[in-house]
């Protein structure tokens, strides 16, 4: 199917373009990156708000600034790297290491963390402001 081919070869090409784009242009002082439609319409932050600025900071090796804009970005990359490493290691082993991402409860826990983070970063109370981008 065409859509599967696009899904297979599209992402690597898109990722390279995006990395170059987010390395060269700071989303904080540029209009060319779309701002979050959810935030524009509702005024509330979504779990992904700040991830573009966080990605710019991460590409410039400022993990603290990246965490301040959106801690889920680095967390998401850690999950991605974990998954790729387990898959790579298991390719060379007969006795497979168990991938925690395949346990029944893992996706629910991750969804729970994202939803709690979503609510928490919108709470207008001093301690919670640090979660907003």
């Amino acid at each position: 199917m065409l859509i599967d081919k696009v899904f297979k070869y599209g992402p690597p090409i898109i990722i390279v373009i995006l990395v170059v784009l987010y390395f060269t242009i700071n989303p904080s002082n540029s209009d060319i990156f779309p701002s979050c439609p959810f935030h524009k319409i509702t005024g509330y932050y979504c779990p992904g708000c700040g991830s573009q600025r966080a990605f710019y900071q991460l590409l410039h090796l400022n993990p603290i600034a990246s965490l301040k804009y959106n801690p889920l970005l680095i967390a998401g990359f850690i999950v991605l790297i974990y998954n790729l490493s387990i898959r790579l290691v298991n390719r060379f082993r007969t006795k497979k290491i168990r991938n925690l991402l395949h346990l029944p409860k893992t996706p629910l826990i991750i969804a729970g963390v994202i939803i709690v983070f979503w609510i928490a970063r919108n709470i207008d109370y001093p301690g919670f402001h640090m979660l907003a981008p």
């Binding site: 060319i32 779309p34 992904g48 991830s51 395949h102 029944p104 991750i110 969804a111």
Partner: protein, 91 residues
């Protein structure tokens, strides 16, 4: 359950990336579906797990393409009409 049976792709990591980067509830739908894949596979329901895997993949792909198309449309508006920022001010 046979020990050497490979679990079907659960799309969990992809859905997480869609949630964070594309800012869409569709990513969360993908994550919930990933949970169905894992639960059914753990219960030994391999066919059910495969069906859930297709469902999870479907939502993740929809989320990915919706935001991709949105992003491309936005860039076209910005570069060819210079209205991107103005459009969003309008909302």
């Amino acid at each position: 359950m046979e020990q050497n049976q490979v679990p079907p792709k659960n799309w969990l990591v992809e859905s997480i990336l869609v949630t964070i980067f594309c800012c869409l509830p569709l990513g969360i739908v993908g994550i919930i579906n990933a949970s169905n894949v894992n639960t059914r596979f753990a219960a030994g329901d391999y066919e059910g797990a495969q069906k859930a895997s297709q469902e999870a993949g479907k939502w993740t792909k929809i989320g990915f393409f919706v935001s991709l198309i949105g992003g491309v449309l936005y860039l076209i508006l910005v570069f060819f009409f210079g209205v991107g920022a103005a459009l969003f001010e309008f909302l």
